[in-house]
Symmetry: C2
Protein backbone atom coordinates (compact mmCIF):
# COMPACT_ATOMS: atom_id res chain seq x y z
CA UNK A 1 0.00 0.00 0.00
CA UNK A 2 2.92 2.40 0.33
CA UNK A 3 3.54 5.01 2.95
CA UNK A 4 0.82 6.89 4.84
CA UNK A 5 0.88 10.46 6.13
CA UNK A 6 -1.08 12.73 8.47
CA UNK A 7 -1.16 16.53 8.59
CA UNK A 8 -1.73 18.64 11.71
CA UNK A 9 -2.52 22.32 11.10
CA UNK A 10 -2.05 24.45 14.20
CA UNK A 11 -3.48 27.94 14.58
CA UNK A 12 -6.40 29.85 16.08
CA UNK A 13 -6.36 32.06 12.97
CA UNK A 14 -7.44 29.12 10.80
CA UNK A 15 -10.37 28.19 13.06
CA UNK A 16 -11.53 31.80 13.44
CA UNK A 17 -11.53 32.32 9.68
CA UNK A 18 -8.89 35.08 9.72
CA UNK A 19 -6.51 33.10 7.55
CA UNK A 20 -7.30 30.57 4.83
CA UNK A 21 -4.88 27.66 5.02
CA UNK A 22 -2.93 26.97 1.85
CA UNK A 23 -0.51 24.38 3.22
CA UNK A 24 -2.74 21.31 3.52
CA UNK A 25 -3.93 21.38 -0.11
CA UNK A 26 -0.36 21.97 -1.32
CA UNK A 27 1.00 19.14 0.81
CA UNK A 28 -1.77 16.71 -0.22
CA UNK A 29 -0.99 17.33 -3.89
CA UNK A 30 2.77 17.04 -3.39
CA UNK A 31 2.58 13.89 -1.29
CA UNK A 32 0.16 12.24 -3.72
CA UNK A 33 2.56 12.97 -6.57
CA UNK A 34 5.31 11.34 -4.50
CA UNK A 35 3.15 8.24 -4.01
CA UNK A 36 2.32 8.92 -0.33
CA UNK A 37 -1.24 8.37 0.93
CA UNK A 38 -2.49 11.22 3.18
CA UNK A 39 -4.99 9.63 5.57
CA UNK A 40 -6.05 12.45 7.87
CA UNK A 41 -5.83 16.20 8.42
CA UNK A 42 -6.75 17.97 11.62
CA UNK A 43 -6.93 21.70 12.40
CA UNK A 44 -6.50 22.59 16.09
CA UNK A 45 -5.92 25.70 18.19
CA UNK A 46 -2.58 26.92 19.61
CA UNK A 47 -2.99 24.80 22.75
CA UNK A 48 -0.19 22.61 24.05
CA UNK A 49 -2.38 19.75 25.30
CA UNK A 50 -4.26 19.39 22.04
CA UNK A 51 -1.06 19.53 20.00
CA UNK A 52 0.54 16.88 22.21
CA UNK A 53 -2.47 14.56 21.96
CA UNK A 54 -2.72 14.83 18.17
CA UNK A 55 1.02 14.46 17.55
CA UNK A 56 1.18 11.35 19.76
CA UNK A 57 -1.79 9.78 18.00
CA UNK A 58 -0.71 10.69 14.45
CA UNK A 59 2.89 9.60 15.05
CA UNK A 60 1.74 6.11 16.05
CA UNK A 61 -0.82 5.82 13.30
CA UNK A 62 0.96 7.12 10.18
CA UNK A 63 4.39 6.59 8.66
CA UNK A 64 5.09 10.30 8.47
CA UNK A 65 3.48 13.33 10.12
CA UNK A 66 3.70 17.01 9.23
CA UNK A 67 2.77 19.91 11.48
CA UNK A 68 2.15 23.38 10.10
CA UNK A 69 2.24 26.53 12.22
CA UNK A 70 2.99 27.65 15.76
CA UNK A 71 6.78 27.81 15.47
CA UNK A 72 7.57 31.53 15.71
CA UNK A 73 8.91 33.47 18.72
CA UNK A 74 5.59 34.72 20.17
CA UNK A 75 3.30 33.64 23.02
CA UNK A 76 1.01 31.62 20.73
CA UNK A 77 3.83 29.57 19.18
CA UNK A 78 3.58 26.40 21.26
CA UNK A 79 4.07 23.63 18.69
CA UNK A 80 7.58 22.69 19.86
CA UNK A 81 6.32 22.33 23.43
CA UNK A 82 3.37 20.23 22.19
CA UNK A 83 5.62 17.90 20.18
CA UNK A 84 7.98 17.49 23.15
CA UNK A 85 5.05 16.63 25.42
CA UNK A 86 3.74 14.12 22.86
CA UNK A 87 7.00 12.16 23.24
CA UNK A 88 7.46 12.80 26.96
CA UNK A 89 10.71 14.74 26.57
CA UNK A 90 11.71 18.24 27.72
CA UNK A 91 12.29 21.23 25.44
CA UNK A 92 16.00 22.06 25.26
CA UNK A 93 18.03 24.84 23.68
CA UNK A 94 19.96 23.39 20.76
CA UNK A 95 23.48 24.69 20.16
CA UNK A 96 23.24 24.10 16.38
CA UNK A 97 20.03 26.16 16.25
CA UNK A 98 21.54 28.97 18.35
CA UNK A 99 24.38 29.21 15.86
CA UNK A 100 22.03 29.51 12.87
CA UNK A 101 19.87 32.12 14.63
CA UNK A 102 22.94 34.09 15.60
CA UNK A 103 23.91 34.27 11.93
CA UNK A 104 20.37 35.34 10.99
CA UNK A 105 19.94 38.06 13.57
CA UNK A 106 23.40 39.57 13.24
CA UNK A 107 24.28 38.64 16.83
CA UNK A 108 21.26 40.53 18.18
CA UNK A 109 19.94 37.65 20.33
CA UNK A 110 17.04 38.55 22.63
CA UNK A 111 14.97 36.06 24.63
CA UNK A 112 12.29 35.89 21.92
CA UNK A 113 14.77 35.04 19.18
CA UNK A 114 16.45 32.41 21.37
CA UNK A 115 13.07 30.67 21.73
CA UNK A 116 13.49 29.70 18.07
CA UNK A 117 16.53 27.62 19.09
CA UNK A 118 14.45 25.41 21.37
CA UNK A 119 13.62 21.91 20.19
CA UNK A 120 12.29 18.71 21.79
CA UNK A 121 15.15 16.74 23.34
CA UNK A 122 16.28 14.16 20.80
CA UNK A 123 14.90 16.07 17.79
CA UNK A 124 17.13 16.82 14.80
CA UNK A 125 17.54 20.18 13.10
CA UNK A 126 17.46 18.84 9.54
CA UNK A 127 18.99 20.69 6.62
CA UNK A 128 17.76 19.81 3.13
CA UNK A 129 18.44 20.97 -0.43
CA UNK A 130 18.56 24.74 -0.54
CA UNK A 131 17.42 25.23 3.08
CA UNK A 132 18.94 28.14 4.95
CA UNK A 133 17.13 27.44 8.22
CA UNK A 134 16.77 23.85 9.48
CA UNK A 135 13.46 22.00 9.88
CA UNK A 136 12.94 20.36 13.26
CA UNK A 137 12.29 16.62 12.97
CA UNK A 138 11.23 14.54 15.98
CA UNK A 139 11.12 10.81 15.09
CA UNK A 140 8.59 10.68 12.21
CA UNK A 141 7.19 14.19 12.88
CA UNK A 142 8.29 17.07 10.63
CA UNK A 143 7.65 20.46 12.26
CA UNK A 144 7.07 23.05 9.52
CA UNK A 145 6.24 26.77 9.75
CA UNK A 146 2.74 28.05 8.94
CA UNK A 147 3.79 30.88 6.61
CA UNK A 148 3.14 29.34 3.16
CA UNK A 149 6.36 30.57 1.51
CA UNK A 150 8.46 29.04 4.29
CA UNK A 151 6.34 25.91 4.48
CA UNK A 152 6.91 25.21 0.77
CA UNK A 153 10.58 26.08 0.90
CA UNK A 154 11.14 23.58 3.70
CA UNK A 155 9.05 20.84 2.17
CA UNK A 156 10.81 21.27 -1.18
CA UNK A 157 14.12 20.82 0.59
CA UNK A 158 13.01 17.60 2.28
CA UNK A 159 10.62 15.96 -0.13
CA UNK A 160 12.78 13.46 -2.01
CA UNK A 161 13.13 11.34 1.13
CA UNK A 162 9.36 10.65 1.03
CA UNK A 163 9.22 9.33 -2.56
CA UNK A 164 7.35 6.01 -2.94
CA UNK A 165 5.75 3.92 -5.72
CA UNK A 166 3.52 6.29 -7.74
CA UNK A 167 -0.28 6.25 -7.97
CA UNK A 168 -1.72 5.74 -11.47
CA UNK A 169 -4.78 7.85 -12.17
CA UNK A 170 -7.22 8.21 -15.04
CA UNK A 171 -10.16 10.66 -15.14
CA UNK A 172 -13.30 10.02 -17.20
CA UNK A 173 -15.55 13.03 -17.89
CA UNK A 174 -19.20 12.15 -18.48
CA UNK A 175 -22.29 13.91 -19.75
CA UNK A 176 -24.71 12.01 -17.46
CA UNK A 177 -25.40 12.63 -13.77
CA UNK A 178 -24.58 10.55 -10.70
CA UNK A 179 -28.15 9.29 -10.44
CA UNK A 180 -27.64 7.45 -13.73
CA UNK A 181 -24.04 6.41 -13.07
CA UNK A 182 -24.34 5.08 -9.52
CA UNK A 183 -25.28 1.53 -10.44
CA UNK A 184 -22.37 1.18 -12.91
CA UNK A 185 -19.95 2.53 -10.31
CA UNK A 186 -21.19 -0.02 -7.78
CA UNK A 187 -20.52 -2.81 -10.27
CA UNK A 188 -16.97 -1.59 -10.92
CA UNK A 189 -16.31 -1.45 -7.16
CA UNK A 190 -17.60 -5.02 -6.78
CA UNK A 191 -15.33 -6.26 -9.60
CA UNK A 192 -12.29 -4.24 -8.50
CA UNK A 193 -12.45 -3.92 -4.71
CA UNK A 194 -8.88 -2.56 -4.46
CA UNK A 195 -9.56 0.25 -6.92
CA UNK A 196 -9.80 3.83 -5.65
CA UNK A 197 -12.89 5.04 -7.48
CA UNK A 198 -14.12 8.63 -7.13
CA UNK A 199 -17.17 10.37 -8.53
CA UNK A 200 -17.34 14.18 -8.57
CA UNK A 201 -20.40 16.02 -9.86
CA UNK A 202 -19.99 19.50 -11.36
CA UNK A 203 -23.10 21.63 -11.14
CA UNK A 204 -22.23 24.54 -13.35
CA UNK A 205 -19.79 23.06 -15.85
CA UNK A 206 -21.09 23.14 -19.44
CA UNK A 207 -18.56 20.51 -20.60
CA UNK A 208 -19.49 17.57 -18.36
CA UNK A 209 -21.70 16.55 -15.43
CA UNK A 210 -19.52 14.10 -13.52
CA UNK A 211 -15.81 13.39 -13.35
CA UNK A 212 -15.04 9.79 -12.42
CA UNK A 213 -11.50 8.97 -11.25
CA UNK A 214 -9.96 5.48 -11.23
CA UNK A 215 -6.71 5.09 -9.33
CA UNK A 216 -4.31 2.39 -8.17
CA UNK A 217 -0.62 1.82 -7.49
CA UNK A 218 -0.97 -1.12 -9.93
CA UNK A 219 -1.27 0.32 -13.43
CA UNK A 220 -2.56 -2.90 -15.04
CA UNK A 221 -5.30 -3.23 -12.42
CA UNK A 222 -6.37 0.38 -13.01
CA UNK A 223 -6.43 -0.14 -16.80
CA UNK A 224 -8.53 -3.31 -16.51
CA UNK A 225 -11.01 -1.50 -14.28
CA UNK A 226 -11.15 1.37 -16.77
CA UNK A 227 -11.95 -1.07 -19.60
CA UNK A 228 -14.67 -2.67 -17.49
CA UNK A 229 -16.19 0.72 -16.60
CA UNK A 230 -16.16 2.02 -20.19
CA UNK A 231 -17.74 -1.21 -21.46
CA UNK A 232 -20.75 -0.54 -19.22
CA UNK A 233 -21.39 2.94 -20.63
CA UNK A 234 -22.82 4.04 -23.98
CA UNK A 235 -19.85 5.68 -25.78
CA UNK A 236 -21.96 8.79 -26.36
CA UNK A 237 -21.85 9.79 -22.65
CA UNK A 238 -18.02 9.86 -22.48
CA UNK A 239 -16.92 13.46 -23.06
CA UNK A 240 -13.20 12.73 -22.69
CA UNK A 241 -10.66 10.59 -20.90
CA UNK A 242 -7.58 12.08 -19.27
CA UNK A 243 -4.61 10.01 -18.16
CA UNK B 1 -17.88 31.74 26.24
CA UNK B 2 -20.67 31.25 23.70
CA UNK B 3 -21.33 28.30 21.48
CA UNK B 4 -18.64 25.99 20.09
CA UNK B 5 -18.60 24.18 16.75
CA UNK B 6 -16.68 21.40 15.01
CA UNK B 7 -16.39 20.70 11.28
CA UNK B 8 -15.91 17.26 9.70
CA UNK B 9 -14.86 17.26 6.03
CA UNK B 10 -15.41 13.89 4.36
CA UNK B 11 -13.83 12.89 1.07
CA UNK B 12 -10.89 10.95 -0.38
CA UNK B 13 -10.61 13.66 -3.04
CA UNK B 14 -9.55 16.21 -0.39
CA UNK B 15 -6.83 13.96 1.06
CA UNK B 16 -5.50 12.95 -2.35
CA UNK B 17 -5.21 16.57 -3.45
CA UNK B 18 -7.69 16.25 -6.32
CA UNK B 19 -10.04 18.85 -4.88
CA UNK B 20 -9.21 21.89 -2.73
CA UNK B 21 -11.80 22.29 0.01
CA UNK B 22 -13.57 25.62 0.10
CA UNK B 23 -16.21 24.81 2.70
CA UNK B 24 -14.18 24.87 5.91
CA UNK B 25 -12.76 28.37 5.37
CA UNK B 26 -16.19 29.68 4.37
CA UNK B 27 -17.85 28.09 7.39
CA UNK B 28 -15.17 29.32 9.81
CA UNK B 29 -15.66 32.90 8.59
CA UNK B 30 -19.45 32.66 8.70
CA UNK B 31 -19.60 31.05 12.15
CA UNK B 32 -17.11 33.55 13.56
CA UNK B 33 -19.25 36.40 12.26
CA UNK B 34 -22.24 34.77 13.99
CA UNK B 35 -20.30 34.64 17.28
CA UNK B 36 -19.68 30.87 17.21
CA UNK B 37 -16.25 29.51 18.17
CA UNK B 38 -14.99 26.77 15.79
CA UNK B 39 -12.74 24.54 17.88
CA UNK B 40 -11.69 21.77 15.52
CA UNK B 41 -11.73 20.66 11.88
CA UNK B 42 -10.92 17.16 10.68
CA UNK B 43 -10.58 15.81 7.13
CA UNK B 44 -11.21 12.07 6.79
CA UNK B 45 -11.76 9.54 3.97
CA UNK B 46 -15.11 8.16 2.78
CA UNK B 47 -15.04 5.36 5.37
CA UNK B 48 -18.03 4.58 7.55
CA UNK B 49 -16.10 3.64 10.69
CA UNK B 50 -14.03 6.81 10.66
CA UNK B 51 -17.06 8.98 10.03
CA UNK B 52 -18.96 7.30 12.87
CA UNK B 53 -16.07 7.73 15.31
CA UNK B 54 -15.56 11.41 14.50
CA UNK B 55 -19.26 12.30 14.52
CA UNK B 56 -19.75 10.60 17.90
CA UNK B 57 -16.76 12.41 19.38
CA UNK B 58 -17.55 15.83 17.88
CA UNK B 59 -21.23 15.63 18.83
CA UNK B 60 -20.35 15.11 22.48
CA UNK B 61 -17.63 17.72 22.52
CA UNK B 62 -19.13 20.69 20.66
CA UNK B 63 -22.47 22.48 20.72
CA UNK B 64 -22.96 22.13 16.99
CA UNK B 65 -21.30 19.94 14.36
CA UNK B 66 -21.24 20.27 10.57
CA UNK B 67 -20.29 17.55 8.12
CA UNK B 68 -19.38 18.34 4.51
CA UNK B 69 -19.44 15.75 1.73
CA UNK B 70 -20.36 12.14 1.10
CA UNK B 71 -24.11 12.63 0.66
CA UNK B 72 -24.70 11.85 -3.03
CA UNK B 73 -26.12 8.67 -4.56
CA UNK B 74 -22.85 6.85 -5.37
CA UNK B 75 -20.81 4.06 -3.72
CA UNK B 76 -18.48 6.50 -1.92
CA UNK B 77 -21.32 8.50 -0.33
CA UNK B 78 -21.40 6.94 3.13
CA UNK B 79 -21.85 9.93 5.44
CA UNK B 80 -25.48 9.13 6.32
CA UNK B 81 -24.49 5.60 7.29
CA UNK B 82 -21.60 6.97 9.36
CA UNK B 83 -23.83 9.44 11.21
CA UNK B 84 -26.40 6.71 11.91
CA UNK B 85 -23.69 4.44 13.29
CA UNK B 86 -22.37 7.27 15.48
CA UNK B 87 -25.75 7.40 17.24
CA UNK B 88 -26.41 3.64 17.13
CA UNK B 89 -29.51 3.93 14.95
CA UNK B 90 -30.37 2.31 11.61
CA UNK B 91 -30.63 4.14 8.28
CA UNK B 92 -34.27 4.40 7.18
CA UNK B 93 -36.02 5.63 4.07
CA UNK B 94 -37.83 8.85 4.94
CA UNK B 95 -41.23 9.46 3.32
CA UNK B 96 -40.78 13.27 3.35
CA UNK B 97 -37.44 12.89 1.53
CA UNK B 98 -38.92 10.48 -1.04
CA UNK B 99 -41.55 13.05 -1.86
CA UNK B 100 -38.99 15.82 -2.44
CA UNK B 101 -36.81 13.56 -4.59
CA UNK B 102 -39.83 12.48 -6.60
CA UNK B 103 -40.53 16.12 -7.39
CA UNK B 104 -36.86 16.68 -8.36
CA UNK B 105 -36.46 13.67 -10.62
CA UNK B 106 -39.81 13.97 -12.38
CA UNK B 107 -40.98 10.67 -10.96
CA UNK B 108 -37.96 8.84 -12.44
CA UNK B 109 -36.97 7.09 -9.19
CA UNK B 110 -34.20 4.51 -9.54
CA UNK B 111 -32.41 2.81 -6.63
CA UNK B 112 -29.56 5.33 -6.70
CA UNK B 113 -31.91 8.32 -6.45
CA UNK B 114 -33.86 6.67 -3.65
CA UNK B 115 -30.61 6.38 -1.65
CA UNK B 116 -30.84 10.15 -1.27
CA UNK B 117 -34.06 9.65 0.72
CA UNK B 118 -32.25 7.63 3.40
CA UNK B 119 -31.55 9.29 6.73
CA UNK B 120 -30.53 8.11 10.22
CA UNK B 121 -33.60 7.04 12.20
CA UNK B 122 -34.70 10.02 14.29
CA UNK B 123 -33.02 12.61 12.05
CA UNK B 124 -34.98 15.59 10.72
CA UNK B 125 -35.10 16.78 7.13
CA UNK B 126 -34.86 20.48 7.92
CA UNK B 127 -36.08 23.16 5.55
CA UNK B 128 -34.67 26.66 5.95
CA UNK B 129 -35.00 30.03 4.25
CA UNK B 130 -34.92 29.56 0.49
CA UNK B 131 -34.00 25.87 0.64
CA UNK B 132 -35.50 23.64 -2.04
CA UNK B 133 -33.94 20.43 -0.76
CA UNK B 134 -33.87 19.74 3.00
CA UNK B 135 -30.71 19.42 5.10
CA UNK B 136 -30.53 16.31 7.28
CA UNK B 137 -30.07 17.13 10.96
CA UNK B 138 -29.33 14.43 13.55
CA UNK B 139 -29.37 15.87 17.09
CA UNK B 140 -26.66 18.58 16.95
CA UNK B 141 -25.12 17.30 13.69
CA UNK B 142 -25.90 19.14 10.43
CA UNK B 143 -25.18 16.98 7.37
CA UNK B 144 -24.26 19.25 4.44
CA UNK B 145 -23.24 18.39 0.86
CA UNK B 146 -19.63 18.80 -0.29
CA UNK B 147 -20.36 20.73 -3.50
CA UNK B 148 -19.56 24.32 -2.47
CA UNK B 149 -22.59 25.95 -4.14
CA UNK B 150 -24.95 23.55 -2.34
CA UNK B 151 -23.04 23.75 0.92
CA UNK B 152 -23.38 27.52 0.99
CA UNK B 153 -27.00 27.48 -0.09
CA UNK B 154 -27.89 25.12 2.77
CA UNK B 155 -25.85 26.95 5.38
CA UNK B 156 -27.36 30.28 4.33
CA UNK B 157 -30.80 28.80 4.83
CA UNK B 158 -30.00 27.57 8.33
CA UNK B 159 -27.54 30.05 9.74
CA UNK B 160 -29.73 32.41 11.79
CA UNK B 161 -30.39 29.66 14.33
CA UNK B 162 -26.68 29.65 15.25
CA UNK B 163 -26.38 33.37 16.02
CA UNK B 164 -24.69 34.15 19.35
CA UNK B 165 -23.02 37.12 21.10
CA UNK B 166 -20.54 38.60 18.61
CA UNK B 167 -16.74 38.64 18.87
CA UNK B 168 -15.12 42.10 18.94
CA UNK B 169 -11.90 42.29 16.95
CA UNK B 170 -9.26 44.93 16.35
CA UNK B 171 -6.19 44.49 14.11
CA UNK B 172 -2.97 46.45 14.63
CA UNK B 173 -0.51 46.53 11.71
CA UNK B 174 3.11 47.05 12.73
CA UNK B 175 6.39 47.86 11.01
CA UNK B 176 8.52 45.75 13.39
CA UNK B 177 9.01 41.97 13.38
CA UNK B 178 7.88 39.31 15.83
CA UNK B 179 11.35 39.03 17.36
CA UNK B 180 10.95 42.59 18.65
CA UNK B 181 7.26 42.31 19.54
CA UNK B 182 7.24 39.00 21.38
CA UNK B 183 8.04 40.40 24.83
CA UNK B 184 5.28 43.04 24.59
CA UNK B 185 2.78 40.42 23.50
CA UNK B 186 3.71 38.24 26.46
CA UNK B 187 3.04 41.16 28.81
CA UNK B 188 -0.38 41.81 27.27
CA UNK B 189 -1.28 38.12 27.65
CA UNK B 190 -0.23 38.21 31.30
CA UNK B 191 -2.37 41.30 31.94
CA UNK B 192 -5.37 40.09 29.93
CA UNK B 193 -5.44 36.30 30.18
CA UNK B 194 -8.92 36.04 28.64
CA UNK B 195 -7.93 38.01 25.55
CA UNK B 196 -7.57 36.18 22.23
CA UNK B 197 -4.30 37.64 20.97
CA UNK B 198 -2.89 36.67 17.57
CA UNK B 199 0.34 37.62 15.85
CA UNK B 200 0.75 37.06 12.10
CA UNK B 201 3.98 37.89 10.28
CA UNK B 202 3.87 38.85 6.60
CA UNK B 203 7.09 38.13 4.76
CA UNK B 204 6.54 39.91 1.49
CA UNK B 205 4.19 42.75 2.42
CA UNK B 206 5.73 46.20 1.89
CA UNK B 207 3.13 47.88 4.14
CA UNK B 208 3.73 46.06 7.43
CA UNK B 209 5.68 43.21 9.02
CA UNK B 210 3.24 41.84 11.58
CA UNK B 211 -0.53 41.99 12.06
CA UNK B 212 -1.56 41.67 15.71
CA UNK B 213 -5.21 40.83 16.44
CA UNK B 214 -6.95 41.44 19.78
CA UNK B 215 -10.32 39.80 20.23
CA UNK B 216 -12.94 39.21 22.91
CA UNK B 217 -16.67 38.81 23.35
CA UNK B 218 -16.34 41.65 25.89
CA UNK B 219 -15.74 44.89 23.96
CA UNK B 220 -14.53 46.87 26.99
CA UNK B 221 -12.00 44.19 27.88
CA UNK B 222 -10.69 44.18 24.31
CA UNK B 223 -10.41 47.97 24.26
CA UNK B 224 -8.54 48.07 27.57
CA UNK B 225 -6.11 45.44 26.28
CA UNK B 226 -5.63 47.47 23.09
CA UNK B 227 -4.80 50.59 25.13
CA UNK B 228 -2.32 48.59 27.20
CA UNK B 229 -0.65 47.12 24.11
CA UNK B 230 -0.37 50.47 22.29
CA UNK B 231 1.09 52.12 25.38
CA UNK B 232 3.98 49.64 25.26
CA UNK B 233 4.92 50.47 21.65
CA UNK B 234 6.62 53.52 20.16
CA UNK B 235 3.86 55.19 18.08
CA UNK B 236 6.19 55.17 15.07
CA UNK B 237 5.88 51.39 14.63
CA UNK B 238 2.06 51.42 14.32
CA UNK B 239 1.22 51.51 10.61
CA UNK B 240 -2.55 51.44 11.13
CA UNK B 241 -5.34 50.14 13.33
CA UNK B 242 -8.41 48.48 11.89
CA UNK B 243 -11.57 47.88 13.92
Amino acid sequence: MGRTAGIILIGNELLSGKVVDANAAYLCRELRALGVDVRRIVVIPDEVDQIAAEVAQFSGRFDVVFTSGGVGPTHDDVTIEGVARAFGVPVVRDARMVEVIQRFSGGNLNAARLRMAEIPEGALPMMGDGLVFPAVVMKNVYVLPGVPELFRQKFEGLKEQFRDEPFHLVSVFLSVGEGTLAEHLNEVVRGYPELMLGSYPELANPEYKVKVTLESKDRTYMERALGDFLARLPASVVVRIQQ
